[in-house]
Symmetry: C2
Subunit: 232 residues, 2 copies
């Protein structure tokens, strides 16, 4: 458990929704938040757990993984800082439907549900912003369902790479995707077997669309990747 002051990102990040709070509300938030950290590969929460508060991912990267039929897990979401994780279950008043696993060392902030509800009830713009976040997320999920069910393997993998680019961006070279996943994770994100992820990734490389150095994936032909994603 870190000192409260160790984490300023949750409220000071440029996109932080806590900026919508007024001075007094803001201090309620600051006085009730709690910071923690997790090492790479540690489980932040497990599918089936009951959420007790809002979790803000301040530093690090997280995958949200859901147990599938017969051991075939599905990654339903990749999250970069600064963003919330596990807020769906919290707001729905339900158990988590996926587990959150740190894929890098992470720092998190907690805010208990009671305080959060108080802030939502007190500040209409804050409430509306949460409504917007959930509604956008629901759109993403609906689109994702269509992609995962109707696109072919190449399209699904290409789309996953685009999602990773969108979520994590590039390294300084402007082409290496700023996240390092196992082939298995890439497969679970793209709804395919690990062997097919490996094979398809190699195909992309041999076509010059990407280049591969272990888990380092660099995009060489972005437009081609987008084409594969939308046509596949």
């Amino acid at each position: 458990m870190l000192n409260k002051s160790d984490c300023q990102k949750c409220s000071n990040d440029k996109n932080s929704i806590f900026k919508l709070l007024n001075k007094q509300e803001r201090s309620i938030f600051e006085n009730n938040k709690q910071c923690t950290s997790y090492k790479k590969n540690e489980i932040i929460f497990k599918e089936g757990d009951m959420p007790s508060g809002l979790i803000c991912l301040c530093y690090g990267k997280v995958k949200l993984i859901k147990e599938g039929v017969g051991g075939r897990d599905q990654i339903i979401r990749m999250e970069n800082s600064v963003n919330f994780i596990g807020f769906r279950a919290l707001f729905a008043g339900e158990h988590y439907i996926a587990s959150a696993v740190a894929i890098e060392d992470c720092t998190l902030c907690y805010l208990d549900k009671k305080t959060l509800d108080k802030l939502i009830k007190a500040n209409g713009n804050f409430a509306l912003e949460i409504i917007t976040i959930l509604a956008k997320e629901l759109g993403v999920s609906n689109e994702r369902t269509l992609s995962l069910t109707q696109k072919h393997i190449r399209g699904r993998l290409a789309e996953s790479l685009l999602v990773l680019i969108n979520t994590f961006g590039y390294e300084d070279d402007g082409k290496t995707i700023k996240v390092y996943l196992s082939r298995e994770d890439l497969a679970n994100l793209s709804n395919m077997t690990t062997s097919n992820a490996i094979r398809t990734l190699s195909m992309f490389a041999s076509e010059g669309v990407i280049s591969i150095e272990g888990r380092r994936l660099s995009v060489e032909k972005f437009e081609t990747l987008k084409n594969i994603s939308s046509l596949g």
Copy 2:
């Protein structure tokens, strides 16, 4: 366009979220709502349209259908009265990602976005309820993605039948599903081709799990249906 007083369901239905409004807020709602009706098969809104207000389905049944890759449409949602339709896009500030089609004669209520936002900002409990609805819906969508991608045909179709029972209930005989869909709609709901929906439905019938009379589907062995859904 009907007279305002023709529709009382949107605010008087036992589960209506408008019951959370106080007297004054309630009258704002009543004074600004507009009622319309649609005939069976009419399009209420189209994928790509921009929403202008909240739509409450007061009478009738609706399917929400999304264009897929190469003409393979997907039904992303079935809605019964009294419930909202198209609220996701409205709250996200985005275009509709699916079209709403009346599968029976329908009566709808509209409430413009401006008035709705006013009510959300004014009433924290109302805001929290909308947050809960969206969060639950996002959970359903995540579960659905897993089912549609990982279950086999039999499991997917069985699950769709369970969804229909859950949404529309039974006729007075306590076993006939209270909605009459084409085989194509059933297929689009279950992510399969029409022929496979027909074939699988026949299999269920020959196994005695359901009985079929045209579009009338009656559940003979509910537990078996649940087993097929969860194991498939």
